[in-house]
Point group: C2
Chain length 398, copies 2
């Protein structure tokens, strides 16, 4: 039994709860690494399926391996018919994140290898989840509009096919590649709240679907994956409230003075520029020029500049823009509805979640798995040795 350690009331900030070999963040220097490789290099030179392979298996694939893996992704993406049938029974206004969290455990019902807890079988479950999450989101988006899901287009990439099945428009190669890069950027981020939820749940020996569903639940929170949509909400608010770009400065100052949050700025781990936001900033600019929506990029860069200066004036250094600051605008320019932005985060992060679930289940970083079973300090009523004096129902005051 370890000696009791008190780390309470800080949400485990700065507390190393496990070892991992999957990813690494140097928050002071703005470095993010997956399995040894810098995120900038992966975003430039790889594809999302390649990164998913890297995360799951711990090494980059050779050509034949990547081809096999990509083919398995394509062959696994068909959703079981009962999922589509059950979608047709649901209230159409259902939030896609709720639907996604609900559907993941239901996918377990038809996994032919559910009882097989070998690493190989779990890798195949991971692959099926990576393949199916985009199809599930796209199908829900169609069904809630009273339309039938679209058949996949095998000539498109993983990211491109998602855009097609979601929007009903075939994306350009450039746009498909942009989304592919977004998926690479969001694929893993060590022990964030959703990944920790996945690991915590499977530490009880629950299956991968149970863990992933919990991850989706955590991601749905406004302080986690919900942030990109909130940035878009903020942008729409700014647009309404100002008449020219010159008014951005005042708008930001008023907001900061009123102690309101600037959405998409600040991060639990990064104290300098988030390396992912640098890539997304460039992408937002380029997509803006191409699609005619430069206004969002212009607004965002102004807000970023003024807010950074204001925070520094107030001595709050290190509040820089995070991955969510530019991603919402990028997704909007791709035709992704606002309430599908967090699900897009999920169809990327699913690769990291599954890699962490494998690491947790097989004790791959620290030799053996450990059920998470923390303690809490009791600060409630306690009336001596025998507990509080119990009053029978009749004698209690109402």
């Amino acid at each position: 039994m370890a000696q009791e350690v008190r780390v309470k009331n800080i949400g485990l900030r700065g507390v190393a709860v496990a070892d991992t070999k999957i990813s690494y963040i140097d928050g002071e220097r703005g470095i993010l690494i997956y399995r040894g490789y810098r995120i900038e290099e992966l975003a430039e030179k790889t594809t999302f399926p390649e990164v998913a392979y890297l995360l799951l298996k711990g090494r980059l694939p050779g050509r034949a391996q990547l081809e096999e893996f990509s083919e398995m992704l394509v062959n696994s993406r068909e959703i079981p018919p009962y999922v589509l049938e059950s979608f047709r029974t649901l209230p159409r206004e259902g939030d896609p994140m709720d639907v996604l969290q609900g559907v993941v455990p239901l996918l377990a019902l038809s996994d032919p290898e559910l009882q097989d807890e070998s690493r190989e079988a779990n890798e195949r479950k991971a692959l099926r989840l990576i393949a199916r999450l985009p199809a599930v989101i796209a199908a829900w988006n169609r069904i809630r509009q009273g339309e039938d899901p679209l058949p996949p287009d095998d000539s498109l990439t993983h990211a491109g096919n998602f855009l097609w099945q979601l929007t009903g428009k075939k994306p350009s190669e450039d746009m498909a590649r942009d989304l592919d890069v977004c998926l690479i950027l969001h694929a893993d981020h060590t022990f964030n709240a959703s990944t920790f939820a996945c690991r915590e749940v499977v530490s009880t020996q629950a299956h991968m679907y149970a863990g992933v569903s919990a991850g989706v639940g955590a991601l749905s929170g406004a302080l986690h994956g919900g942030a990109n949509a909130r940035v878009m909400q903020m942008l729409e608010q700014v647009e309404k409230e100002i008449h020219s770009l010159d008014e951005v400065e005042d708008w930001v100052r008023r907001r900061i003075d009123a102690h309101e949050k600037i959405m998409g700025m600040g991060h639990a781990v990064y104290k300098t520029d988030d390396p992912r936001s640098k890539i997304l900033r460039v992408m937002s600019k380029r997509l803006g020029e191409k699609t005619g929506y430069e206004k969002w990029y212009q607004l965002l860069t102004r807000i970023e500049k003024v807010a950074t200066e204001e925070f520094e004036k107030k001595g709050k250094t290190g509040i820089k823009c995070n991955v969510d600051f530019y991603s919402g605008s990028v997704y909007a320019m791709m035709g992704i509805p606002r309430d599908i932005m967090t699900p897009v985060f999920a169809i990327s992060r699913i690769s990291g979640w599954c890699a962490h679930i494998l690491e947790e289940k097989f004790g791959e970083a620290q030799g053996k798995p450990a059920l998470y079973r923390p303690q809490a300090e009791y600060v409630g009523d306690y009336c001596g040795e025998i507990g509080c004096v119990f009053q029978p129902l009749e004698e209690r005051e109402t």
Copy 2:
């Protein structure tokens, strides 16, 4: 920023991660307390709705309050029709825990107060969840057998009505009360893996349904809620392998010598008798005599006695039977199918989960909520300042 603390590789055992006012365990002395009251006293003198009220609101209800609360439970238990419709689309062999984890986020779709994050609205969400989980389990159990769900019987208690809707048999008053006591015993247990999952998920500001669904996922694991069904599995195995009770001793010794687990024995927190198992042991005996299934009680007490002695001989003191050791036999004698035993755990623990979610969301024990965002120590590949050297796809060995 707190200084970095290293508690890794131990699953947070012995690490106090937060304050709580909800429940307290003294593992050395075998004491369990909900909101100040000893579990023994609550099990003897209260009902499950009373305990749910206590957990959610922090005080025992007066008569009028309890009546109002119970009435709200009765009025809230109807499941939205789309849930039943979607149940009819699912593969019938689906594990009830997967179905339950999946259905909880779908219940959010029709919660009229989903967006209202006040404490009052969240309390009402909790009440709806406590009311509906039993109805959901009972409905799935009927639908998977090709039968229609049964209408509730308002003359029965919360526990009694669940047995009726589940099995189609009206339980005796005694049996309904026995299940009621089981629900009291399982209602809360501080920061166990499922409760921690609930709290962790809602710490992102995700809604209550997202948190509860994660809790169900954690509970489904064999190291957590899945244990009671595993005890039953073990009992069935013993029955097959021995011909008389006298052979139990050898059976247990062989199992321990082969380093196989004795299911339902040992606990992360209790180092002495689990106060809940003492109550369940008596219940198992009484129900056995009444239903003619004394054999299970006889087997269990033999196994407990021999295993405790064997563990002590080996210097492993403190491996005592836990809450799961006798509960499976109790549920079996009530006509509850083996794969519904963990869901029964859930229909009790839902009250504790919701109380913890309220405490987490409103910072009720420690002044303010804190997003759980732990760290991990990176022990994977890292090749200096710039990361590992990236090999283009063409140059990689397969």
